[in-house]
Structure formats: structure tokens, C-alpha cells
Amino acid sequence: MSANLSTGVGASGGSTADAGLDGRDARIAAAIATPTAPSRPAVRSRVQPATRRRARRRCRPTPIGVLGWVFLAVLLFFTVVPMAWMVSTSLKSSFAAIDQPPRWIPAEPTIVNYTKLLNPDETVGADFLRYMRNSVWVSTATTVLGLIVAVPASYAFSRFAFPGRDTLFFSVLVRNMFPTVVFLIPLFILMRRLTLVDSHWSLILTYLTFGLPLSIWLLKGFYDNIPVELEQAARIDGATRFQAFYLIVMPLSSPGIIATAIYAFIQGWNEYVYARTFIQSDRLLTMPVGLQKFFTEYASDWPGLMAASFIMSVPVVVLFLALQKYFVQALTEGAVKS
């Protein structure tokens, strides 16, 4: 054919035979193959620019950076000083507490205020421990019930497309757009209808209405970041839909669940306004309200009050310190979409 007769430059592509393949296949293979497809960038690289930028900022302080530090220092001052003062006072006797000028370090530190509060044989101690039990029960019930609802709800919001999903998702947040006092009277009336006034359930239900929407949001962000392929793989590997969730997704979302739990618990633990309004019997009071009662009953006993305040803040701080790793992880991983 003309190809071989011509003295033009030969244009056969057949010189590429690999050792392993016979000539024909190798030729086709070489000809068909695309140059290697660009490989997708590793996920890791996403983090690097930010880290580098931060490193640079550390070397050369910018005006904004300095302002930031000042702001943080002021903030720290306002949070730490009252705490320190609280601890200091709680270790003093009643007389030492009103010394002028005030001393930061108690001259004769005493733990009697604590032993009194934690001694069930004293009236104060009995009251205090009861408030504490009530608070633990209300906060725990709120947390557990909240999670029982929020975990499946946020998973459903994240994974399933159903009619009205977005509307429903945003309407979940409507509750949190209003100041809490707005709902005080309506909820009180509602609770009275339900004959729940002056019961812990009125508080648990109310706290759920605050906590659930945010829990659902937080957890949904978390589920969104767990690749759906993991569940798919599990289902192909022989798991039911529920097993895929329970065995694969749940453990992966545990930081989110823990963070949500801390959040819900603290909300219930600290809440004052509703507890004050809904609960009338002294035996049902939760700690914030009980503490306030101490103010009126033992007005001069500052060290006792401070000790009670300190004990009240301990569970929150301990919980937070123990689980802060998960909390931070939840806030960053849940919020930042890849």
C-alpha cells in the first residue's frame, strides 16, 4: 500500500511493544491508554495552608493579632477573677470573709463550709444534697432523652431526602430565635394543662425544647461529614441498615454525641428562670434556684454560699475538661464541610 511505497517518514506506532505483552496487544494497549488521569489531591493537603499561615502570624504580630490577645486577656480576667474570688472566700470563715481590706489568700483556710454542705445530717447539707440530686436527675434525663431523639433525627436529616426536609430542618431552629422568657408564660400555662407544674417533667420537657434543636444541628453536621460509602460498604458486607448505623456510624459520631450530651447537660444544670417559675415545692428545687434560696436564708454566710457555688460548678468543669477533646473535635469537624 501507499504507506510502504512512499519515501515519506514512516509513521507506524508499533514500536512500543512491551516485553510482557505480544506486539499487537501492546500496541493497542499503548494506543488506547490515556495518559494517567490526574490523581485527586490528598485530603491531607487541605489543612496545610492554614497551618502555614498561622505559623507565619506567630512570627510577626499584626495589629489585629495584638488586639486579639488583649481581648482574650480581658476576657480571661473577667472569667477567672470571680472564680478565684469564689474559691478564696469559700475557704474562709464568716468573719474572715468580710475582713477589710479583703485578702486573696485566706489567713486560716478552712474546709468547714464544704463539709457542712456535704453532710446530710445538717439541715443545710440535707437541702443542698437534695438540690444536687434534683439537678442531676433533671439534667441527666434531659440529656438522655435529648440524645434518644436527636441522634436518629439528625441522622435522618443528614441521610434521607424526604418532602419538606429543609423546611422542617429550619423550623427546628425557630424555637431558638426567641429569648427564652418569651415562652415562659405560654409554657407555664401549657404545663398547668398537662398538670406537670411543680414536677421535674415540666423542666425536662422545657429543656428539651431548648436543647434538641441545637443538638440536631450539631449532630447533623457530624453525620454529613461521615462518608455515606461507609454505610454502603457495611450493607454490602452483610449489615442491615440499622446495623450499619449502629456498628459503623454511631461509633464514628461519638465525639459529636458526647459534645451534644455535655451541651445538653450544662444547659439543664445551669437553667434558672424556668426552674424558678415551674417548681414551687422546696423538695423539688434544682440547684440554681436552691442556691438563690440560700442567699435569702443564709444571707450573711458568704463562705457557705461560695462553697455551694463552687460545688455546683465542679461537675460542669470536670465534664468539660474530661471531654473537651471531643467537644472541640465536634465543633470543628461538624462545622467545617469538606
Binding site: 517518514v9 509513521a11 499487537r24 488506547i32 490515556t34 449489615a239
Partner: protein, 383 residues
């Protein structure tokens, strides 16, 4: 192992038809590669077979059992995901054991099979690690291992090698092929990389826009693309495709390109071209473009655009009117930009498509369709 049959399967997402009446038969023990541009419905097809998505229409059979409504766990398939989908909170051992555990395999047997699979893939030393502590290639092996640890009816693989670097990819390709041959697995394999399809697959299915364009052995798809899309998609560099009118010159059939060039046609090709409803698309592979530095009668004048030496051979990009044309030449071939070069298209391997329908024009009547591959080879050797 068993075959997999797709019958007219359809998947719609609202208005989007992701998979459009695809029919495909994967024989027992066959390795079928599913290729196509991004978004053409490859993953969707695979997920339909796996049962992760619901069919809009059509049937899927494994062996001769209809599985349309079967849960993924009951389909007895194994899948390798593009992003591996290793369970991040489980050690490699537990990743491999998971499919067995879920199916209630006794503990002793699980341990034995995990060890054996790990041995085959040379990942025994990694069993105590978490997926995060593995390199990409190691993760890929674990993902493969999680599929191999069972004895499923068929394997589904969604671009399992696409995250690996080029060298590792070549190595894993060889290992996958060996694995397929050793256990006679039925494999449906999605890939972007045609080299993978060509080197590993018994058959190649080319998809575009949710529609199956062509299904056959790779060399048949390469030699006889059924339409312009397949012609342009399969092969690298892509086939040159030029639009031309069918005319006559010097008493012989000829093509007149939209860029003004004139190229004679052999009598057989002239008969094919005449069957077109109007203009034709001429397809010509880079290695079937003959080059000459001197003017020759009937040859088409072009200008050199760039010359790309690759080591084995040199790709020459040529300007033909506003079009670029790629040809290949010997490794030593060189030219300066804008040099004049004359080209001729090899008549024996000219692809002709109806420009209107984009379908291939059948080869000359003497050649029965069954003998097409043989005749093409005969022509090549006769020249």
C-alpha cells in the same frame, strides 16, 4: 461466582436520567470494564447492581436470579469503593473480618480467612493498624482484601486504583489481573483509565450520558468504534475526527474537508462514504496518518504545530485549517513549527461516520460483520 445481567435498567433522579436503558451481560468469570467520561452514570450503574440505589425500571439478575428488590446484604456481592470506605475506627484485622462476622462465620474460620487474605495481599504486618496509619496503596489493598475475604457471587469495583500514584497503579493492575485469573472472579470494574480497561478487561463497556454506547472486547471497541463518541473516547491520543463532504476528484471518490483539503478515497471507502446521508466524519488514528516532507499527489498539506518526543515515538501535532491533527512518527522525527508537512490517511483503517447520525458507516459490502477484525488485520499485513 455467577454472571451478572442488566436488562434495560433505568435510574432517574427527578428529571436527570443517570442510567438510560442499559443492558449488559457479564458472563461468569468475566472481567468487564465500565468506562466513560465523568458523570456518565458508571457509579450509578454499579450502585444499582449493589442494591444501594433503587431501580427506576429494568431488571438485574445475578446468575439467573432476579434481585431487583433484594437488600444489599442479601445480594452476596463484594464492592471496592473509590475512596476505599475502610471503617476508620476498626483495625485492619476487624475491617477484613467485618464481612465474615456479619454473615455469622465462626470465629476460628474468620481468623484463618483474614490471615490468608492478608497473606495474599502482603498486608499481614498491618493487621493491628488503623486505616489512618496506612499509606494509600496499603489502604487500597485492605479495601481489596475486605472484598476478597469472602467468596461472593461477583465483585464490583469503582475506580479502585484511581487514588494511587502511577507506579503503584501499574503494580496493582497486574495484581488485580492475576487475582482475577486465579480465582476466576466475575468482576464489574469502573474506571476512568483506559489503560486499566485495556490491560485487564475481557470486555469493555463504553457509556456516555447514561447510555451504553458499545460493549465488546477492548480491541474490537478500539478497531471498530460504533459511533463518533466511542471513536473519540477510546484511544490515546484521541482519534482525529474531521468533518468532510463526499465528492469526486480525478474520477475517484474523495473527501473535501470543511477546512478545504481534498483527500482521495479508495473504491471501498468511497462506497462506504456514499451511504452517508450527507457529510461524513472521518476518523483517523495518529498512527495511521502518513507523513511526508515533500509534496505528493493526493496528499494534504499541513503545518507543524508542535512536536512531542515521548521516547518511544514522536507525536506530531499538525495544523489543518483551524483544526489540529495528531500523528505519530519515529522517535527521531523532528520538525520546526510551521514547517510544511504533507499527510495521507491510511485507507485500510479509515473510520467513516455519518455526520448526521454520528454512527459508523458499515465496511464495504464484501466484508461480513463477523470477519471485521480479521479483515482489518489482513489489510494491514497485505500493505
Amino acid at each position: 461466582m455467577a454472571g451478572v445481567t442488566l436488562r434495560e435498567i433505568v435510574k432517574e433522579y427527578g428529571d436527570v436520567v443517570a442510567v438510560d436503558h442499559v443492558s449488559l451481560e457479564v458472563q461468569d468469570g468475566e472481567f468487564v470494564a465500565l468506562v466513560g467520561p465523568s458523570g456518565c452514570g458508571k457509579t450509578t450503574t454499579l450502585n444499582l447492581v449493589a442494591g444501594l440505589l433503587e431501580l427506576t425500571d429494568g431488571d438485574i439478575l445475578i446468575g439467573d436470579k432476579l434481585i431487583n428488590d433484594l437488600d444489599p446484604k442479601d445480594r452476596d456481592l463484594a464492592m471496592v469503593f473509590q475512596n476505599y470506605a475502610l471503617y476508620p475506627n476498626k483495625k485492619v484485622y476487624d475491617n477484613l473480618a467485618f464481612p465474615l462476622k456479619m454473615r455469622g462465620t465462626p470465629k476460628g474460620e474468620i481468623a484463618a480467612r483474614v490471615r490468608k487474605t492478608a497473606e495474599i495481599l502482603s498486608i499481614e504486618h498491618l493487621l493491628d493498624r488503623k486505616p489512618k496509619q496506612l499509606s494509600g496503596g496499603q489502604q487500597q489493598r485492605v479495601a481489596l482484601g475486605r472484598a476478597l475475604v469472602r467468596n461472593p457471587k461477583a465483585f464490583l469495583m469503582d475506580e479502585p486504583l484511581s487514588n494511587l500514584d502511577a507506579k503503584l497503579r501499574v503494580q496493582m493492575r497486574a495484581e488485580l489481573k492475576r487475582f482475577h485469573q486465579e480465582i476466576g472472579a466475575t468482576v464489574l470494574y469502573v474506571t476512568h483509565d483506559q489503560m486499566e480497561a485495556v490491560t485487564m478487561a475481557d470486555k469493555m463497556a463504553v457509556m456516555s450520558g447514561g447510555v451504553l454506547q458499545q460493549y465488546g472486547p477492548p480491541d474490537e471497541v478500539y478497531r471498530h468504534p460504533v459511533n463518533v463518541f466511542v471513536a473519540g473516547f477510546v484511544g490515546s491520543p484521541s482519534m482525529n475526527l474531521l468533518r468532510a463532504a463526499v465528492t469526486a476528484a480525478d474520477g475517484q471518490g474523495a473527501l473535501r474537508g470543511t477546512e478545504g483539503w481534498l483527500h482521495p478515497l479508495s473504491p471501498a471507502n468511497a462506497r462506504r462514504a456514499a451511504a452517508s446521508s450527507g457529510d461524513v466524519m472521518v476518523g483517523i488514528r495518529h498512527n495511521q496518518v502518513h507523513l511526508s516532507r515533500e509534496e505528493r499527489p493526493g496528499w494534504v498539506e499541513t503545518r507543524v504545530y508542535t512536536v512531542e518526543p515521548t521516547g518511544d515515538l514522536t507525536y506530531v501535532h499538525l495544523r489543518l485549517g483551524g483544526q489540529l491533527l495528531v500523528a505519530s512518527a519515529d522517535a527521531e522525527w523532528r520538525a520546526a513549527p510551521d514547517d510544511r508537512v504533507w499527510v495521507e490517511f491510511d485507507q485500510g483503517s479509515l473510520h467513516l461516520f455519518d455526520a448526521q447520525t454520528e454512527l459508523a458507516l458499515p465496511l464495504a459490502d464484501a466484508v461480513a460483520s463477523g470477519a471485521t477484525v480479521g479483515s482489518a488485520r489482513a489489510m494491514a499485513t497485505a500493505g
